[in-house]
Amino acid sequence: MSNTPPKMTASHVTVHYGTKRAIDDVSIDIDQDEVVAFIGPSGCGKSTFLRTLNRMNDTVASARVEGDIRLDGHDIYAPDMDVVQLRARVGMVFQKPNPFPKSIYENVAYGPRIHGLAQSKSDMDGIVERSLTRAGLWAEVKDRLSDSGTALSGGQQQRLCIARAIAVDPEVILMDEPCSALDPIATAKIEELIHELRGRYAIAIVTHNMQQAARVSQRTAFFHLGTLVEFGRTSDIFTNPRQERTKDYITGRYG
Protein backbone atom coordinates (compact mmCIF):
# COMPACT_ATOMS: atom_id res chain seq x y z
CA MET A 1 0.00 0.00 0.00
CA SER A 2 2.67 2.49 0.93
CA ASN A 3 6.38 2.55 0.36
CA THR A 4 7.22 3.04 4.02
CA PRO A 5 8.14 -0.15 5.88
CA PRO A 6 5.23 -1.88 7.66
CA LYS A 7 4.49 -0.80 11.22
CA MET A 8 4.26 -4.39 12.35
CA THR A 9 5.40 -7.55 10.66
CA ALA A 10 4.50 -11.04 11.79
CA SER A 11 6.41 -13.81 10.07
CA HIS A 12 5.69 -17.53 10.32
CA VAL A 13 3.81 -17.19 13.58
CA THR A 14 2.65 -20.44 15.16
CA VAL A 15 0.79 -20.58 18.47
CA HIS A 16 0.07 -23.61 20.61
CA TYR A 17 -2.25 -23.83 23.60
CA GLY A 18 -0.70 -26.82 25.34
CA THR A 19 -0.52 -29.39 22.56
CA LYS A 20 -3.26 -27.83 20.48
CA ARG A 21 -2.08 -25.75 17.57
CA ALA A 22 -4.20 -22.61 17.36
CA ILE A 23 -2.25 -20.72 14.70
CA ASP A 24 -0.16 -22.33 12.00
CA ASP A 25 2.56 -20.40 10.19
CA VAL A 26 0.79 -17.07 9.71
CA SER A 27 2.57 -14.10 8.17
CA ILE A 28 0.92 -10.68 8.04
CA ASP A 29 2.22 -7.16 7.93
CA ILE A 30 0.34 -4.05 9.02
CA ASP A 31 1.17 -0.70 7.48
CA GLN A 32 1.34 2.55 9.39
CA ASP A 33 -1.64 4.13 7.69
CA GLU A 34 -4.07 1.29 7.34
CA VAL A 35 -6.81 -0.65 9.03
CA VAL A 36 -6.43 -4.41 8.67
CA ALA A 37 -9.44 -6.62 9.41
CA PHE A 38 -9.17 -10.24 10.54
CA ILE A 39 -12.22 -12.34 9.68
CA GLY A 40 -13.06 -16.02 9.94
CA PRO A 41 -15.37 -18.42 11.73
CA SER A 42 -15.23 -18.89 15.49
CA GLY A 43 -12.15 -20.78 16.56
CA CYS A 44 -10.21 -19.92 13.39
CA GLY A 45 -7.44 -18.26 15.41
CA LYS A 46 -7.99 -14.63 14.43
CA SER A 47 -8.24 -13.41 18.03
CA THR A 48 -5.32 -15.55 19.11
CA PHE A 49 -3.27 -14.02 16.33
CA LEU A 50 -4.36 -10.49 17.27
CA ARG A 51 -3.28 -11.14 20.85
CA THR A 52 0.23 -12.18 19.79
CA LEU A 53 0.74 -8.65 18.47
CA ASN A 54 1.00 -7.14 21.96
CA ARG A 55 1.89 -10.34 23.82
CA MET A 56 -1.48 -10.70 25.49
CA ASN A 57 -0.95 -14.45 25.16
CA ASP A 58 1.81 -14.14 27.77
CA THR A 59 -0.99 -14.10 30.33
CA VAL A 60 -2.14 -17.55 29.21
CA ALA A 61 0.14 -20.08 30.88
CA SER A 62 -0.31 -22.83 28.28
CA ALA A 63 0.23 -20.56 25.27
CA ARG A 64 3.46 -20.91 23.30
CA VAL A 65 4.23 -18.45 20.50
CA GLU A 66 6.79 -19.22 17.78
CA GLY A 67 7.83 -17.09 14.86
CA ASP A 68 8.93 -13.53 14.50
CA ILE A 69 6.84 -10.44 15.31
CA ARG A 70 8.31 -7.02 14.92
CA LEU A 71 7.20 -3.51 15.74
CA ASP A 72 9.16 -0.96 13.72
CA GLY A 73 11.66 -3.73 13.03
CA HIS A 74 12.19 -4.64 16.70
CA ASP A 75 11.39 -8.15 17.87
CA ILE A 76 8.62 -7.76 20.44
CA TYR A 77 9.44 -11.17 21.94
CA ALA A 78 13.10 -10.21 22.48
CA PRO A 79 14.30 -10.62 26.09
CA ASP A 80 14.94 -6.89 26.48
CA MET A 81 11.42 -5.93 25.39
CA ASP A 82 9.48 -4.24 28.20
CA VAL A 83 6.02 -5.79 27.94
CA VAL A 84 4.30 -2.96 29.80
CA GLN A 85 5.91 -0.48 27.41
CA LEU A 86 4.95 -2.68 24.46
CA ARG A 87 1.29 -2.69 25.48
CA ALA A 88 1.36 1.08 25.74
CA ARG A 89 2.65 1.25 22.17
CA VAL A 90 0.28 -1.45 20.98
CA GLY A 91 -3.02 -0.73 22.71
CA MET A 92 -6.01 -2.98 22.83
CA VAL A 93 -9.78 -2.62 22.88
CA PHE A 94 -11.86 -5.62 23.83
CA GLN A 95 -15.20 -7.03 22.82
CA LYS A 96 -16.99 -6.11 26.00
CA PRO A 97 -16.45 -2.52 27.13
CA ASN A 98 -14.46 -2.82 30.36
CA PRO A 99 -14.07 0.61 31.95
CA PHE A 100 -12.52 0.72 35.40
CA PRO A 101 -15.09 1.33 38.16
CA LYS A 102 -13.72 4.82 38.50
CA SER A 103 -14.61 8.24 37.16
CA ILE A 104 -14.55 8.92 33.44
CA TYR A 105 -11.56 11.19 34.01
CA GLU A 106 -9.65 8.56 35.96
CA ASN A 107 -10.33 5.91 33.33
CA VAL A 108 -8.46 7.99 30.79
CA ALA A 109 -5.85 9.40 33.18
CA TYR A 110 -4.85 6.04 34.64
CA GLY A 111 -2.54 4.94 31.83
CA PRO A 112 -0.75 8.26 31.30
CA ARG A 113 -0.22 8.47 35.07
CA ILE A 114 1.45 5.06 35.46
CA HIS A 115 3.54 5.76 32.36
CA GLY A 116 4.47 9.20 33.72
CA LEU A 117 3.26 11.01 30.62
CA ALA A 118 1.90 14.08 32.42
CA GLN A 119 4.05 16.54 34.37
CA SER A 120 1.20 18.49 35.89
CA LYS A 121 -2.52 18.55 36.48
CA SER A 122 -3.03 20.76 33.44
CA ASP A 123 -0.93 18.36 31.33
CA MET A 124 -3.19 15.55 32.43
CA ASP A 125 -6.33 17.59 31.77
CA GLY A 126 -5.02 18.16 28.25
CA ILE A 127 -4.37 14.46 27.69
CA VAL A 128 -7.82 13.52 28.98
CA GLU A 129 -9.57 16.08 26.82
CA ARG A 130 -7.55 15.22 23.71
CA SER A 131 -8.10 11.48 24.17
CA LEU A 132 -11.82 11.83 24.76
CA THR A 133 -12.09 14.18 21.79
CA ARG A 134 -10.28 11.77 19.49
CA ALA A 135 -12.54 9.00 20.73
CA GLY A 136 -15.55 11.12 19.83
CA LEU A 137 -16.78 11.21 23.41
CA TRP A 138 -15.71 14.62 24.71
CA ALA A 139 -18.88 16.53 23.84
CA GLU A 140 -21.01 13.92 25.56
CA VAL A 141 -19.04 13.69 28.82
CA LYS A 142 -17.18 16.97 29.31
CA ASP A 143 -19.65 18.15 31.97
CA ARG A 144 -19.65 14.89 33.90
CA LEU A 145 -16.02 13.78 34.00
CA SER A 146 -16.31 12.78 37.65
CA ASP A 147 -19.22 10.40 36.97
CA SER A 148 -18.40 6.72 37.02
CA GLY A 149 -17.28 5.26 33.70
CA THR A 150 -19.59 2.34 34.25
CA ALA A 151 -22.61 4.68 34.27
CA LEU A 152 -22.19 5.38 30.56
CA SER A 153 -24.11 3.55 27.83
CA GLY A 154 -22.45 0.55 26.19
CA GLY A 155 -21.39 2.53 23.12
CA GLN A 156 -20.05 5.35 25.26
CA GLN A 157 -18.19 2.85 27.45
CA GLN A 158 -16.55 1.37 24.37
CA ARG A 159 -15.48 4.82 23.19
CA LEU A 160 -14.18 5.48 26.71
CA CYS A 161 -12.08 2.32 26.39
CA ILE A 162 -10.78 3.60 23.05
CA ALA A 163 -9.99 6.95 24.69
CA ARG A 164 -8.16 5.03 27.43
CA ALA A 165 -6.13 3.15 24.81
CA ILE A 166 -5.36 6.39 22.96
CA ALA A 167 -4.35 8.25 26.14
CA VAL A 168 -0.95 6.57 26.37
CA ASP A 169 -0.21 7.65 22.81
CA PRO A 170 0.02 4.20 21.19
CA GLU A 171 1.26 3.51 17.67
CA VAL A 172 -0.93 0.51 16.99
CA ILE A 173 -4.46 -0.22 18.23
CA LEU A 174 -5.76 -3.76 18.32
CA MET A 175 -9.53 -4.18 18.46
CA ASP A 176 -11.09 -7.52 19.29
CA GLU A 177 -14.69 -7.38 18.09
CA PRO A 178 -15.17 -3.88 19.46
CA CYS A 179 -18.78 -3.57 18.30
CA SER A 180 -20.27 -6.98 18.93
CA ALA A 181 -21.94 -5.82 22.15
CA LEU A 182 -23.20 -2.55 20.68
CA ASP A 183 -26.36 -1.46 18.88
CA PRO A 184 -26.16 -0.30 15.22
CA ILE A 185 -25.93 3.41 16.04
CA ALA A 186 -23.14 2.91 18.59
CA THR A 187 -21.49 0.58 16.06
CA ALA A 188 -21.65 3.25 13.35
CA LYS A 189 -20.03 5.74 15.73
CA ILE A 190 -17.17 3.34 16.45
CA GLU A 191 -16.72 2.69 12.74
CA GLU A 192 -16.65 6.41 12.04
CA LEU A 193 -14.12 6.74 14.83
CA ILE A 194 -11.96 4.04 13.26
CA HIS A 195 -11.95 6.08 10.04
CA GLU A 196 -10.83 9.15 11.97
CA LEU A 197 -8.14 7.28 13.88
CA ARG A 198 -6.74 5.79 10.72
CA GLY A 199 -3.49 7.45 9.71
CA ARG A 200 -2.65 8.41 13.27
CA TYR A 201 -2.56 4.80 14.42
CA ALA A 202 -2.10 1.51 12.62
CA ILE A 203 -5.22 -0.51 13.41
CA ALA A 204 -5.95 -4.23 13.40
CA ILE A 205 -9.54 -5.27 14.04
CA VAL A 206 -11.05 -8.70 14.57
CA THR A 207 -14.69 -8.82 13.58
CA HIS A 208 -17.41 -11.38 13.02
CA ASN A 209 -19.35 -8.85 11.02
CA MET A 210 -18.09 -9.08 7.46
CA GLN A 211 -19.90 -5.92 6.43
CA GLN A 212 -17.94 -4.17 9.14
CA ALA A 213 -14.66 -5.55 7.83
CA ALA A 214 -15.68 -4.37 4.37
CA ARG A 215 -16.59 -0.93 5.66
CA VAL A 216 -13.63 -0.10 7.89
CA SER A 217 -10.57 -1.86 6.51
CA GLN A 218 -8.18 -1.41 3.63
CA ARG A 219 -6.92 -4.99 3.78
CA THR A 220 -8.61 -8.10 5.06
CA ALA A 221 -7.15 -11.37 6.28
CA PHE A 222 -9.31 -14.49 6.24
CA PHE A 223 -8.41 -17.15 8.79
CA HIS A 224 -9.68 -20.71 8.79
CA LEU A 225 -8.68 -23.54 11.13
CA GLY A 226 -5.63 -21.66 12.34
CA THR A 227 -4.23 -20.87 8.91
CA LEU A 228 -4.24 -17.65 6.95
CA VAL A 229 -6.20 -18.56 3.84
CA GLU A 230 -6.09 -15.23 2.08
CA PHE A 231 -4.81 -11.72 2.79
CA GLY A 232 -5.43 -8.93 0.34
CA ARG A 233 -7.11 -5.66 -0.47
CA THR A 234 -10.54 -5.54 1.14
CA SER A 235 -12.14 -4.51 -2.13
CA ASP A 236 -10.73 -7.62 -3.80
CA ILE A 237 -11.56 -9.98 -0.95
CA PHE A 238 -15.22 -8.97 -1.03
CA THR A 239 -15.72 -8.75 -4.77
CA ASN A 240 -13.33 -11.31 -6.19
CA PRO A 241 -11.60 -13.53 -3.63
CA ARG A 242 -8.85 -15.77 -4.98
CA GLN A 243 -9.46 -18.72 -2.69
CA GLU A 244 -12.50 -20.98 -2.79
CA ARG A 245 -12.64 -21.15 1.01
CA THR A 246 -12.71 -17.34 1.28
CA LYS A 247 -15.46 -17.16 -1.30
CA ASP A 248 -17.57 -19.78 0.48
CA TYR A 249 -17.16 -17.99 3.79
CA ILE A 250 -17.95 -14.46 2.69
CA THR A 251 -20.88 -15.50 0.51
CA GLY A 252 -22.42 -17.50 3.34
CA ARG A 253 -21.71 -20.97 1.97
CA TYR A 254 -19.37 -21.98 4.74
CA GLY A 255 -19.81 -25.21 6.59
Partner: protein
Amino acid sequence: MNDHTVKAFDNDIGQLRGLISQMGGLAEDAIEKAMRALQRSDLDLAVEVRSGDKAIDTIEAEVERMAVRIIALRAPMANDLREVVAALKIAGVVERIGDYAKNIAKRVPLIESDHRIEPISILPAMGRMASEMVRDALDAFAARDAEGAVRVCESDTALDDFYDSIFRTLVTHMVENPKTISQVAHLLFVAKNLERIGDHATNVAEMVYFAATGTQMVERERGGREV
Protein backbone atom coordinates in the same frame (compact mmCIF):
# COMPACT_ATOMS: atom_id res chain seq x y z
CA MET B 1 -21.18 -24.46 -6.35
CA ASN B 2 -22.11 -25.06 -2.71
CA ASP B 3 -25.48 -23.99 -1.40
CA HIS B 4 -25.86 -21.04 0.92
CA THR B 5 -26.32 -21.80 4.57
CA VAL B 6 -29.42 -19.60 4.34
CA LYS B 7 -31.54 -21.54 1.84
CA ALA B 8 -33.81 -18.60 1.05
CA PHE B 9 -30.79 -16.85 -0.45
CA ASP B 10 -30.41 -19.67 -2.98
CA ASN B 11 -34.12 -19.37 -3.80
CA ASP B 12 -33.78 -15.63 -4.40
CA ILE B 13 -30.79 -16.03 -6.70
CA GLY B 14 -32.54 -18.91 -8.47
CA GLN B 15 -35.61 -16.77 -9.07
CA LEU B 16 -33.54 -13.90 -10.39
CA ARG B 17 -31.75 -16.21 -12.81
CA GLY B 18 -35.12 -17.66 -13.84
CA LEU B 19 -36.43 -14.20 -14.70
CA ILE B 20 -33.39 -13.49 -16.89
CA SER B 21 -33.84 -16.77 -18.75
CA GLN B 22 -37.52 -16.06 -19.26
CA MET B 23 -36.79 -12.58 -20.53
CA GLY B 24 -34.08 -13.87 -22.86
CA GLY B 25 -36.47 -16.47 -24.25
CA LEU B 26 -39.05 -13.78 -25.03
CA ALA B 27 -36.42 -11.61 -26.74
CA GLU B 28 -35.20 -14.48 -28.94
CA ASP B 29 -38.78 -15.26 -29.80
CA ALA B 30 -39.45 -11.63 -30.69
CA ILE B 31 -36.49 -11.53 -33.08
CA GLU B 32 -37.54 -14.75 -34.75
CA LYS B 33 -41.18 -13.66 -35.13
CA ALA B 34 -40.26 -10.19 -36.37
CA MET B 35 -38.09 -11.71 -39.10
CA ARG B 36 -40.80 -14.21 -40.03
CA ALA B 37 -43.35 -11.37 -40.21
CA LEU B 38 -40.98 -9.42 -42.45
CA GLN B 39 -40.34 -12.34 -44.74
CA ARG B 40 -44.02 -13.23 -45.15
CA SER B 41 -45.45 -9.71 -44.82
CA ASP B 42 -47.46 -11.12 -41.96
CA LEU B 43 -49.01 -8.00 -40.42
CA ASP B 44 -50.79 -9.87 -37.61
CA LEU B 45 -47.55 -11.45 -36.48
CA ALA B 46 -45.87 -8.02 -36.61
CA VAL B 47 -48.57 -6.63 -34.32
CA GLU B 48 -48.06 -9.57 -31.98
CA VAL B 49 -44.35 -8.78 -31.70
CA ARG B 50 -45.09 -5.12 -30.97
CA SER B 51 -47.54 -5.90 -28.20
CA GLY B 52 -45.38 -8.73 -26.84
CA ASP B 53 -42.62 -6.26 -26.02
CA LYS B 54 -44.59 -5.16 -22.96
CA ALA B 55 -44.04 -8.54 -21.35
CA ILE B 56 -40.26 -8.07 -21.68
CA ASP B 57 -40.51 -4.61 -20.11
CA THR B 58 -42.55 -6.03 -17.23
CA ILE B 59 -39.95 -8.69 -16.47
CA GLU B 60 -37.19 -6.10 -16.62
CA ALA B 61 -38.96 -4.11 -13.90
CA GLU B 62 -39.36 -7.29 -11.88
CA VAL B 63 -35.64 -8.07 -12.20
CA GLU B 64 -34.84 -4.59 -10.94
CA ARG B 65 -37.09 -4.97 -7.90
CA MET B 66 -35.74 -8.42 -7.15
CA ALA B 67 -32.08 -7.38 -7.52
CA VAL B 68 -32.52 -4.37 -5.26
CA ARG B 69 -34.31 -6.54 -2.71
CA ILE B 70 -31.52 -9.14 -2.74
CA ILE B 71 -28.85 -6.46 -2.34
CA ALA B 72 -30.77 -4.85 0.54
CA LEU B 73 -31.79 -7.98 2.40
CA ARG B 74 -29.05 -10.50 1.64
CA ALA B 75 -26.00 -8.27 1.24
CA PRO B 76 -24.50 -10.52 -1.44
CA MET B 77 -20.72 -10.76 -1.66
CA ALA B 78 -18.10 -11.80 -4.20
CA ASN B 79 -19.54 -14.01 -6.97
CA ASP B 80 -23.07 -13.56 -5.60
CA LEU B 81 -22.73 -9.80 -5.78
CA ARG B 82 -21.27 -9.94 -9.28
CA GLU B 83 -24.11 -12.18 -10.39
CA VAL B 84 -26.84 -9.89 -9.04
CA VAL B 85 -25.21 -6.84 -10.63
CA ALA B 86 -24.81 -8.73 -13.91
CA ALA B 87 -28.46 -9.80 -13.84
CA LEU B 88 -29.50 -6.20 -13.32
CA LYS B 89 -27.44 -5.00 -16.27
CA ILE B 90 -28.34 -7.93 -18.50
CA ALA B 91 -32.05 -7.23 -17.95
CA GLY B 92 -31.52 -3.69 -19.24
CA VAL B 93 -29.68 -4.95 -22.32
CA VAL B 94 -32.23 -7.66 -23.11
CA GLU B 95 -34.96 -5.02 -22.89
CA ARG B 96 -33.09 -3.07 -25.59
CA ILE B 97 -32.83 -6.20 -27.70
CA GLY B 98 -36.60 -6.51 -27.42
CA ASP B 99 -36.93 -2.90 -28.59
CA TYR B 100 -34.89 -3.66 -31.71
CA ALA B 101 -37.13 -6.62 -32.51
CA LYS B 102 -40.16 -4.40 -32.02
CA ASN B 103 -38.64 -1.81 -34.34
CA ILE B 104 -38.19 -4.46 -37.04
CA ALA B 105 -41.83 -5.49 -36.61
CA LYS B 106 -42.94 -1.85 -36.95
CA ARG B 107 -41.33 -1.67 -40.37
CA VAL B 108 -43.18 -4.70 -41.76
CA PRO B 109 -46.33 -2.77 -42.81
CA LEU B 110 -44.16 -0.05 -44.36
CA ILE B 111 -42.49 -2.40 -46.79
CA GLU B 112 -44.57 -2.94 -49.92
CA SER B 113 -45.43 -6.57 -50.28
CA ASP B 114 -45.88 -6.63 -54.07
CA HIS B 115 -42.56 -5.17 -55.17
CA ARG B 116 -40.30 -6.95 -52.78
CA ILE B 117 -36.65 -6.94 -53.64
CA GLU B 118 -34.45 -10.00 -53.59
CA PRO B 119 -32.10 -9.22 -50.61
CA ILE B 120 -35.08 -9.56 -48.26
CA SER B 121 -34.65 -13.31 -48.59
CA ILE B 122 -31.20 -13.31 -46.95
CA LEU B 123 -32.17 -11.11 -43.99
CA PRO B 124 -33.77 -14.00 -42.05
CA ALA B 125 -30.40 -15.79 -42.06
CA MET B 126 -28.88 -12.73 -40.43
CA GLY B 127 -31.81 -12.69 -38.00
CA ARG B 128 -31.10 -16.29 -37.02
CA MET B 129 -27.47 -15.47 -36.44
CA ALA B 130 -28.38 -12.53 -34.15
CA SER B 131 -30.96 -14.54 -32.29
CA GLU B 132 -28.48 -17.40 -31.78
CA MET B 133 -26.01 -14.95 -30.24
CA VAL B 134 -28.69 -13.82 -27.80
CA ARG B 135 -29.53 -17.42 -26.94
CA ASP B 136 -25.88 -18.42 -26.53
CA ALA B 137 -25.17 -15.40 -24.31
CA LEU B 138 -28.08 -16.25 -22.03
CA ASP B 139 -27.16 -19.94 -22.01
CA ALA B 140 -23.69 -18.87 -20.90
CA PHE B 141 -25.32 -16.84 -18.10
CA ALA B 142 -27.43 -19.82 -17.01
CA ALA B 143 -24.35 -22.09 -16.97
CA ARG B 144 -21.98 -19.42 -15.57
CA ASP B 145 -19.88 -20.34 -18.60
CA ALA B 146 -17.06 -17.83 -19.18
CA GLU B 147 -15.75 -19.69 -22.24
CA GLY B 148 -19.19 -19.74 -23.80
CA ALA B 149 -19.33 -15.98 -23.25
CA VAL B 150 -16.02 -15.54 -25.08
CA ARG B 151 -17.37 -17.56 -28.02
CA VAL B 152 -20.40 -15.27 -28.25
CA CYS B 153 -18.14 -12.24 -28.47
CA GLU B 154 -16.05 -13.90 -31.14
CA SER B 155 -19.11 -14.70 -33.24
CA ASP B 156 -20.02 -11.01 -33.39
CA THR B 157 -17.45 -10.53 -36.14
CA ALA B 158 -19.38 -12.87 -38.44
CA LEU B 159 -22.57 -10.89 -37.83
CA ASP B 160 -20.74 -7.64 -38.55
CA ASP B 161 -19.42 -9.09 -41.80
CA PHE B 162 -22.93 -10.19 -42.70
CA TYR B 163 -24.15 -6.66 -42.09
CA ASP B 164 -21.40 -5.14 -44.26
CA SER B 165 -22.25 -7.42 -47.10
CA ILE B 166 -25.99 -6.71 -46.86
CA PHE B 167 -25.26 -3.01 -46.64
CA ARG B 168 -23.31 -3.10 -49.90
CA THR B 169 -25.99 -5.16 -51.62
CA LEU B 170 -28.75 -2.79 -50.52
CA VAL B 171 -26.85 0.31 -51.60
CA THR B 172 -26.30 -1.26 -55.01
CA HIS B 173 -30.05 -1.86 -55.23
CA MET B 174 -30.79 1.75 -54.46
CA VAL B 175 -28.33 2.96 -57.06
CA GLU B 176 -29.63 0.66 -59.75
CA ASN B 177 -33.28 1.05 -58.98
CA PRO B 178 -34.22 4.33 -57.26
CA LYS B 179 -37.87 3.23 -57.09
CA THR B 180 -36.89 0.83 -54.31
CA ILE B 181 -35.18 3.43 -52.16
CA SER B 182 -37.89 3.72 -49.54
CA GLN B 183 -38.23 -0.05 -49.14
CA VAL B 184 -34.49 -0.58 -49.11
CA ALA B 185 -34.02 2.14 -46.51
CA HIS B 186 -36.31 0.17 -44.19
CA LEU B 187 -34.38 -3.02 -44.90
CA LEU B 188 -31.15 -1.18 -44.09
CA PHE B 189 -32.59 -0.32 -40.70
CA VAL B 190 -33.65 -3.93 -40.22
CA ALA B 191 -30.09 -5.08 -40.94
CA LYS B 192 -28.68 -2.38 -38.67
CA ASN B 193 -31.06 -3.43 -35.89
CA LEU B 194 -29.87 -7.02 -36.20
CA GLU B 195 -26.28 -5.86 -36.10
CA ARG B 196 -27.04 -3.87 -32.93
CA ILE B 197 -28.71 -6.91 -31.39
CA GLY B 198 -25.43 -8.75 -31.92
CA ASP B 199 -23.56 -5.94 -30.15
CA HIS B 200 -25.97 -6.17 -27.24
CA ALA B 201 -25.60 -9.95 -27.05
CA THR B 202 -21.86 -9.28 -26.88
CA ASN B 203 -22.46 -6.90 -23.94
CA VAL B 204 -24.45 -9.59 -22.20
CA ALA B 205 -21.62 -12.05 -22.78
CA GLU B 206 -19.11 -9.60 -21.33
CA MET B 207 -21.21 -9.31 -18.17
CA VAL B 208 -21.53 -13.08 -17.96
CA TYR B 209 -17.77 -13.32 -18.18
CA PHE B 210 -17.31 -10.75 -15.42
CA ALA B 211 -19.87 -12.42 -13.18
CA ALA B 212 -18.22 -15.80 -13.66
CA THR B 213 -14.58 -14.78 -13.35
CA GLY B 214 -14.44 -11.43 -11.53
CA THR B 215 -12.31 -9.92 -14.28
CA GLN B 216 -13.23 -7.97 -17.39
CA MET B 217 -12.98 -9.71 -20.71
CA VAL B 218 -10.02 -8.32 -22.63
CA GLU B 219 -11.36 -5.74 -25.04
CA ARG B 220 -11.56 -7.29 -28.48
CA GLU B 221 -9.97 -5.68 -31.46
CA ARG B 222 -12.77 -3.96 -33.31
CA GLY B 223 -12.39 -3.67 -37.06
CA GLY B 224 -12.38 -0.36 -38.82
CA ARG B 225 -16.09 -0.49 -39.58
CA GLU B 226 -17.52 2.99 -39.88
CA VAL B 227 -21.27 2.42 -40.05
